[in-house]
Amino acid sequence: MKILLTLAWRNLWRKKRRTFITVSSVMFAAILAITLMSMINGTTDQMIDGIISNSTGHLQVQDVLYDEEPSMDHALEYGDEVKAVLEKYSDYISYTVPRIQGFCLASKDIGTRGVVVTGIIPEFEDRMNDLSSRMIEGEMFTPDDNYAVIAEGVATQLEVAVGDTIVLLGQGFQGMTAAGKYKVGGVLRFTLPEQNNRMVYLPLREAQWFYAAPDRLTNLIIMVDDARDVPLLARNLQNDLDGEWYAVKTWEQLMPDEVAAFEARDAQVRLFAWILYIVVGFGIFGTIIMMLYERLREFGILLSIGLKRAQLAVICALETLFISFIGVLSGIVAGFIVVYWLYLNPIRLTGDLADIMLDFGLEPIFAFSIAPHIFIFQGMIIFIIALIVGMYPVRKVFKLDVVEAARK
């Protein structure tokens, strides 16, 4: 075996240019696959992060009926039972964001608009989505204040400025009328029109009073340290909470349309990736064929003087293994450099595409991911492709006509 290993290794360096070409084809394939997948994973992660931080959070605890009928009557009781369960899993939970929200009418003078009145604790909202940074006028309330902060679109439609008063009217808990008069203390600007034209915020305690639902929440958002913990944490929370009253939902369950869109996109990406792998496979195959036909005579001679076909096949397989390994390893290193640079300096989008991303609350960039699994998985795929393609010379060795080959 040692001599076969020696022959394979020395053969690599015998014709350096030939080896360089083959290794390069594997290396560029790995760089291409890694860069493509990094971009796709990066943009997907970016969109998921956008959804999680701007909308659902990682998980939500809701009343069991809230999802079917999101009304104030289905606000959950945020009492000792829920707090004890959350405490049990505090190692996994980064922080929680309590909200109570309902649909109301907001009016000023003769103007009336439909709005979503949400009770929040600003500190937690800021941690989740930096809400206060959207303030364009006035200032964010503290938990003990009792004034409202409204979105810019609402302010425009009602012709309200900071210091004016608005009247809110809606449905409270168990048929109570929710009615209140609030001074506007600040105006927020959202890029997403749906938010900009509808959002009205109150301090949580004030909103609970407004909705006549003390200690109740419509959504208890849970943010975790590691997104990979979400499925397990959701199962554990659901098991520990009374299923008759509480439902634990992941962001995927809360945003099924977005998840379906991601899955459709994933299917397209997979198809594209397979096309890339096929192209890459043929690229490597081309260089291996070139290498093989240059060496047919040499193979014939080796078989003539007594080397067995299986031994020659082992030499070819070892050469393929070395080339694939060196190619993939250098591809991963070079791919990491490329991707890391793009990760630090993402491609900035302009024009309509940038506007669309801004509307969705996303930064208008092509984000790249440097998750280790991309490098490992893509490296392995290219390695396997190179190995499969590299088996062609091995197969050829077993079918080689010794006399014909030696005569070439």
């Binding site: 040499e298 001679i301 078989l303 003539s304 003087i305 007594g306 006399v403 030696a406």
Partner: protein, 230 residues
Amino acid sequence: MKTVIKTTDLSKVYNGGAAEVHALKNVSLEFKQGEFTAIVGPSGSGKTTFLNVIGGLDKPTDGHIYIDGVDLATMKESKLFDFRLRHIGFVFQAYNLIPVLTAIENVSFIMLLQKKSKEEMERRAKEMLEQVGLAEKLYVRPSQLSGGQQQRVAVARALASKPDFVLADEPTANLDTQSAFNLLDIMARLNKEENVTMIFSTHDQRVIDRARRVIKLVDGAVDNDEQFDR
């Protein structure tokens, strides 16, 4: 003298498109131990085919090749590889050394495949390289040797494993006159010292003049078989 190779009614037909080519026609020959034989004839007369067939590289269409009483014509390919490894030495026109191995590694290569001990391999390889006048070039790769030197390494490789016979296909065709004479001197000396049968296919009059037996093939058949006292 012991018979090393015996062929009976050896025929080889190639199906080259519309026409069949009879490369060998009923060739029946015997080669004794220690013979130094040249197979001569014009191009296309069947010299190389004859060497390929008796070397087990190619299968005859008809007839038998007996080596040590074993019929190569009916042997399976897997057995043939092993048989060639243990019984036959090859010298090719284009030297065909393994480019990535040094001279001593090339000479040891067949013994290595035969699983000889390291000490025996090294001793025999050095001995053979000394015999062919390359004691100073043990650790040199083929690309650093002249054509004549490479062919001498090839001869050392063919003989190192002590085969029953050596087949040499036009061994001097690529060599200049001086290198060809040197090689022939070495082969003739080793033929006697090692008592190994050597069979050459050749056009080269210098080889023919040194051979003790000359077999002439014409159109795949034996035209003449002469012995010389040299």
